[in-house]
């Protein structure tokens, strides 16, 4: 069983809301990636989204753009990212890892080769930002290798497309909570709630909500109706400028702890 499916089954059984932190691989430091991934798990991460740096991240805001630029400046590439996942897997066989990135590095690497190497390294899913459902044939080799391709739905997604997305969803469906780039601050909880409810009525896969979740309060509000909450830019911003790997791990822990507590308090309350 794919680790993503396994983990969401466990969350459901426990009545818990999943916490999915996003970090850009290689930022703040290439040496510190593996310890950082373990620190995220220690702070309560249920899944991890690991960003593969790309020179032209057209759907990302300044925070993740800059993280990507810093990582690229340190020579981080797809092979290094797969190496870190492999190293993480040596000590953590349970926490699912989803690689998030853009098509061109994979296109150049070769889809089949990437799919084989990623599965072998212990990657569980791939979120390709610039690959909408219409281009699913492009990434067929990734799904054929047993990796889950995580599809996105947005507030602007029309009803007919949403239907198709819900039908195709595997692993989880990532609901982008507003029309914008990563890291923007707008969020209308009521609107997100009604859209997520519509998705959950149609999709068998769980629904994770991201884009604009910044702290314990916004995470808890989302947790009331989502299966998982994704926190990206706010965390990446917090990690930027850490002096060393140890400090980055400490910052990640301090940042995620109140969010984890808020999610768990909600669970306890519901129980």
């Amino acid at each position: 069983m794919n680790r993503i499916d396994q983990r969401f089954a466990e969350l459901k059984a426990a009545g818990r809301t999943g916490l999915i932190p996003f970090v850009t691989a290689g930022d703040p430091s290439p040496d510190g990636v593996v310890p950082l991934l373990h620190a995220l798990v220690a702070a309560g991460a249920d899944l991890i989204e690991l960003g593969v740096p790309f020179s032209d991240p057209m759907a990302d805001g300044p925070v993740i753009q800059h993280a990507s630029e810093r990582a690229l400046a340190k020579g981080v590439g797809l092979e290094a990212v797969l190496g870190w996942v492999r190293a993480f897997r040596a000590d953590d066989a349970a926490t699912p890892i989803v690689l998030m990135g853009y098509l061109n590095p994979i296109e150049i690497h070769g889809y089949e080769r990437f799919a084989r190497e990623a599965a072998d390294a212990g990657v569980d899913g791939v979120l390709l930002v610039d690959c909408p459902l219409e281009e699913a044939a492009t990434s067929a080799a990734i799904r054929a290798a047993g990796l889950r391709q995580i599809w996105l739905a947005a507030p602007t997604t029309a009803a007919a497309r949403l239907e198709r997305l819900c039908g195709a969803a595997e692993g989880f469906l990532y609901y982008v909570s507003f029309a914008g780039i990563t890291g923007a601050a707008r969020l209308s909880v009521a609107e997100i709630e009604s859209r997520v409810a519509a998705i959950r009525a149609r999709a068998r896969a769980p629904v994770a909500v991201g884009f604009g979740v910044r702290d314990a309060a916004s995470a808890a509000a989302i947790a009331a109706f989502a299966d998982a909450v994704v926190i990206g830019s706010a965390l990446v911003e917090r990690l930027a400028g850490s002096a060393d790997a140890e400090e980055a791990c400490a910052r990640a822990g301090a940042f995620l702890a109140p969010i984890r507590s808020a999610l768990d308090a909600r669970t306890a309350h519901a129980a």
Partner: protein, 432 residues
Amino acid sequence: MNTDKKQRHVRGAIRVDPRQSVSKIEAMNIEKPIDFHAYPDTHGRFGPYGGVYVAETLMAPLEALTEAYLRLRGDAEFLAELDRDLEHYVGRPSPIYHAERLSAHVGGARILLKREDLNHTGAHKINNTVGQALVARRMGKTRIIAETGAGQHGVASATVAARLGLKCVVYMGAVDMERQAINVYRMKLLGAEVVPVTSGSKTLKDALNEALRDWVTNVADTFYIIGTVAGPHPYPMMVRDFNAVVGREARAQMLAEYGRLPDAITACVGGGSNAIGLFHAFLNDRAVRIVGAEAAGLGLASGHHAASLAAGRPGVLHGNRTYVICDDDGQIAETHSISAGLDYPGVGPEHAFLKDTGRAEYVGVTDDEALQAFHLLARTEGILAALESSHAVAQAIKLAREYPKDAIVLCNLSGRGDKDVHTIAQREGITL
């Protein structure tokens, strides 16, 4: 012109494998020749190129645009309005001009210039912005955004926005803003806001990223006028359609004034909008040789160039699959060209298709060759060409030498060179 060879070369989308038996190759030759005017398909594909490689948040606005444009494309009233604007505002048709002294100097075929430099705002870019602005107005959009490299598309966008009373925001790389200060000021005079882009290499590709981000965030009232035949579907098709007037006119002018089609046609290729504009009407005229001139910068072997087709590889950038210049990890490379308008690491997907099918050739022209052509054209014809267009002139000169005197090489003079006077002076060590 070796017509037979050309015919075989473009027949069928399947590339001939030399290991296959002769009978199989012959069987392939029976296939119907490609109808190049049938592309893209409904999914925006030119063979394996093109498509819609964008984030989910852009799918809805792109679908809305595709639907609106496909409707307007066949709307007689819209097309009549467009024709009126092209005639009375842009100044079309632009003439084809026999550059007699240049031709004599070269000593080969007759070189004809399609004078897009005579358009309002001084380049072919206005053909597209006039068209897209009309689409924007029909869609009820009140805000125009655009990306620009050299500033020509930014000026052309600011121009049409001013004329239609639309708000206009132009994204421009901080490096390009410095290189093209006059065009920045020109856009401001036209009432546009110019936003410096400081991410990545601070050039055209980053301006395009930033414009896409703006569009994702402001889709409700905003229309994104992409300036070249790249980007996600329907842009490569729509921008081509609006520029195809260049080739349609040129083809008719050739028949009317010379009673024949040219032997070869050429244009410079950055993103490729002026080139596809000229090429498109001629694509099914198999006897007409088609050559695109890319920016070879300091030379293709130097690594400092912007020749995506001549020296790049298939990849995905800015919403489409096409040839890109990137490293082995798939990171998009910084490009170099003396002309900011050709300084782009991708290229329109239709050009990628024309390259693979063999219908068009793509070759590199260096900074130095373009500059030589610039000077030669200025001295022999009294025309200051844009540095971008000077690449095409350089290629036309090379082609003219390959043909006899009675042959004709038609070159798209896509823009005028006033904007480049400072760059050229600086390069030649002259203080103005």
